[in-house]
């Protein structure tokens, strides 16, 4: 399946780290913003100085709970922070504050469209809150590692799935769906390049029909969406080759190298075998009241799947079109604004899916034409004032910010459709006079030439002709 090796089934589970969109860090007041000069967003707490203590960021907890609710998890009234102990220069306390035996939330699910199996529901085993480590920069200074602690203490959630994916393509599809949900609820910018969404994968293979899972490896260092499929495919193929060659898969951590499109085993020195988790004594158990959880639930917007279904029902759109329009919350909201401004839903859908998205694609995802303007433009087409072709020109002008509302722009461009039949008759006469051969052929039965004549009239009129009127006049003259 999915172009995978014949006779093998791939089993993948994902652990996704998502940076929460907060102003400050998880356990101190330092800015969580990305991209500042190294070691400028630091304080005694996130530097792990002797005597400093963590205090949980209430805002981060709200976002984490919203994510858990959006993924259908059970949010626990009591969860416990735990220390994950290991030594590394970018981990200032020598431990990371995370959650272990009692996570914030468990037992959720997320349905996504598998390219091979249709709609598949992945299990969200757990979702917990933790702090990020700093960053080690190995290429900044010769023969030395530099440490930037701006990221140390930035709030994260970790979302762990069951072994529910059967191909790298499915893993990617799940991730895209997850990203869409998290962006919808606004808890993260989910930017893989900035590291605000990071993925580790557990990969194993087995013979189809085998009940037990094969030995798994953990694949790390997958730095962009594009590499998810590649990295997992490479690891799957490596395991299959091992097993087919009669060897066994060793349980280990594999690092993906995007330059070579290859994985290599992490040196055992780099691996921490035993994190010695224990409850964080500096933080009391995290107790969430029913009211708090209910408030977060109330703050959740309509989620992508629900919105898609509603668009199908409410606007009589196809499922595919609804999916395109709900791919991002911004586009979905835009579409609905256009409809609310009076545009016919299907016409609005066509415009948004073509002109609007193309323009956004070229302009950093900005939706440059206001919903009111687009609605007006659609009305001008519907009322026969503008041809589709002319309307597209007007859209480009309005998007570029030139010349005000669509009607004004259309007037300035001189593309208002002419519905005056005497003017039309003049253009038609000219066109027929210039194409005597085609007129003869038409009269002999080549009626498909009508489209050609209409096109010529449109050209003659600089797009101002109403094509329907042009056709009627042409039919009269040619009969």
């Amino acid at each position: 399946m999915g172009g995978g090796p014949v006779g093998w089934e791939t089993v993948i589970g994902l652990e996704t780290h998502v940076q929460l969109r907060t102003a400050s860090k998880m356990f101190c007041g330092c800015s969580a913003a990305f991209g500042a000069a190294p070691n400028t967003h630091v304080c005694p707490v996130c530097l792990g100085l002797p005597g400093a203590l963590p205090v949980p960021n209430g805002g981060a907890l709200k976002l984490a709970v919203r994510a858990a609710l959006a993924l259908g998890c059970t949010v626990h009234a009591k969860s416990v922070f735990a220390r994950k102990n290991y030594f590394y220069p970018d981990l200032p306390k020598g431990y990371q504050i995370s959650q272990y035996e009692q996570p914030l939330a468990t037992n959720g699910s997320l349905s996504f469209l598998s390219p091979e199996r249709g709609l598949v529901t992945a299990t969200i085993v757990r979702l917990h809150v933790e702090e990020d480590a700093g960053k080690s920069l190995h290429d900044r200074f010769p023969k030395a590692t530099a440490v930037d602690l701006n990221r140390a203490g930035v709030p994260l959630i970790e979302i762990v799935t069951g072994p529910d994916f059967r191909s790298p393509q499915e893993a990617r599809a799940y991730l895209q769906t997850l990203k869409q949900v998290l962006e919808y609820i606004g808890i993260s910018d989910c930017d893989m390049e900035k590291g605000s969404l990071r993925v580790d994968a557990n990969v194993s293979v087995r013979r189809p029909g085998d009940g037990a899972l094969g030995t798994k490896t953990e694949v790390k260092n997958i730095n962009s969406f594009a590499y998810v499929e590649k990295a997992l495919g490479v690891e799957r193929d490596r395991q299959v080759a091992l097993l087919e060659g009669g060897s066994a898969v060793a349980q280990q951590t594999m690092l993906y190298d995007s330059k070579d499109n290859a994985v290599r085993a992490q040196r055992s020195k780099e691996e921490s075998h035993d994190y010695r988790y224990f409850p964080e004594p500096d933080l009391p158990p995290l107790v969430l009241t029913d009211e708090f959880v209910a408030e977060q639930q109330a703050l959740l917007p309509e989620l992508p799947a629900a919105k898609r279904e509603r668009f199908v029902a409410q606007y009589a759109l196809s499922r595919e079109h609804a999916a395109v329009l709900t791919a991002s919350r911004a586009v979905a909201d835009y579409y609905e604004s256009v409809v609310h401004a009076g545009a016919e839903p299907r016409a609005a859908a066509n415009w948004v899916m073509t002109e609007v998205l193309a323009d956004a694609n070229d302009h950093q995802e900005q939706l440059r034409v206001s919903p009111a303007a687009l609605s007006q433009l659609i009305a001008l087409v519907k009322g026969g004032t503008l041809s589709n072709q002319a309307a597209k020109r007007v859209f480009v002008e309005v998007a570029g910010g030139r010349g005000g509302d669509p009607r004004t722009v259309a007037e300035a461009l001189g593309v208002i459709q002419v519905a005056d039949s005497s003017v039309m008759a003049g253009w038609v006469t000219e066109v027929l006079g210039a194409h005597a051969t085609e007129v003869t052929r038409y009269k002999k039965g080549e009626t498909k030439l009508m489209a050609f004549f209409v096109g010529q009239v449109m050209r003659k009129s600089n797009g101002k002709a109403d094509p329907k009127l042009a056709q009627r006049v042409l039919e009269e003259k040619l009969s």
Partner: protein, 456 residues
Amino acid sequence: MSDAKAVADRLGKVKRLNALLTPATELRKSLVAQAAAARATGVLYGMPVALKDNICTLEFTTTCGSKILEGYRSPFEATVVTKLKAAGALIAGKTNCDEFAMGSSTEHSAYGRVMHPLDKARVPGGSSGGSAALVAAGAVPAALGSDTGGSVRQPASFCGVVGIKPTYGRVSRYGLVAFGSSLDQIGVFGRSVHDAARVLSVISGRDPRDATCEDRDPLRLPTVPESLQGFVIGLPREYFPSDLDPAVRRACDRAVRLMKEQGAAVREVSLPHTSYAVPTYYVLAPAEASSNLARYDGVRYGPRFDGAPVDIRALYRATRGAGFGPEVRRRILVGTYVLSAGYYDAYYRRAQQTRALIVQDFRNAFDRGVDLLFTPTTPSPAFKAGEKLADPVSMYLSDIFTVTANLAGLPALSLPIGRVKGLPIGGQLIGQAFLEDELLEAAYALERVVPATEEP
């Protein structure tokens, strides 16, 4: 109260104790500057308070008695320091202690042992031995220590002063360098119950920087009661074993008689899980310590003990191997072991379960109408330097009567109740959580009548 130079002179006179780590000239200069800036309206105006060297100060280095923090100057000060200053107190230097508060004799300091003020061949107790010795020697009226398993009460008992460990969460730990975070509380030494209580009142209360500090107003000082009428004092039989030092037993008996004479009802109670307290403590405290002390790796601050590290592991090994003393290394090893995969359930988890049983023991006693418990603070008076160094377990057993209050998070206080061959004996009162006022009332009443410097 006392002017800055006089304070510095008094501290200079007890130099032989090795109780103070701050150099005399630096301290004198700082005291003069502090006195000039001190708030005259503060309730502790002009009162010198010495601080154990694991409490962060801007004025002085904070070494925790360790080589690994030699010369370390904190960029922030502990909440208790800010509160003391706001009350007009003078920070009278940093006191010597067992390294990272691990020890019961103040012999485990990288900066040399502290002498007992009454007998230099003996230890002042620990780990807050420097603070206890300074108060006992009359150099300061009060000092702060930290108490994880008895590190305020045990040296208070050995040195013949009052030592209070408040309820866990009564005083902010922000700026107290962590040893066993679930057990650590900053405590106070005073020449009298009143001195200690005044300082405790100032440093207590909520702190948004410490999530384990209760959201409560500062402790209000109780008045000295007329009598102990209405108090029910429990005597836990497990704290009076048959092999208890006879002088300690006699001193306790006398104190009990005096409390009865003042109207207290006294009754024997049982805390059946007491014998598990020391082993429980010596699993949990090292476990937390092994994690708390991971940050001392030579990467960001403190000395590095390897000139040209070839790799990061070598740097860690060299720095931590040379920077920590043997007792700290021992506890890090024990703590790492009990948290390791395969041992966690047998040690750490079991110890947590036992801790819950010890907590329940106290709850049962208090539920049966007992207001306070009275026990000896230590099994014997101050021992000789070197006597227990070779045998860590015998050293650990000097905390046998004090660790329970830490495990249960309860307030407890040691006060002098007599002497044997010139050496002080301490009696311990253990109270209910956040009822320090009752604890202090009983202590006031006992202090008033007990002949603290006389043989029982």
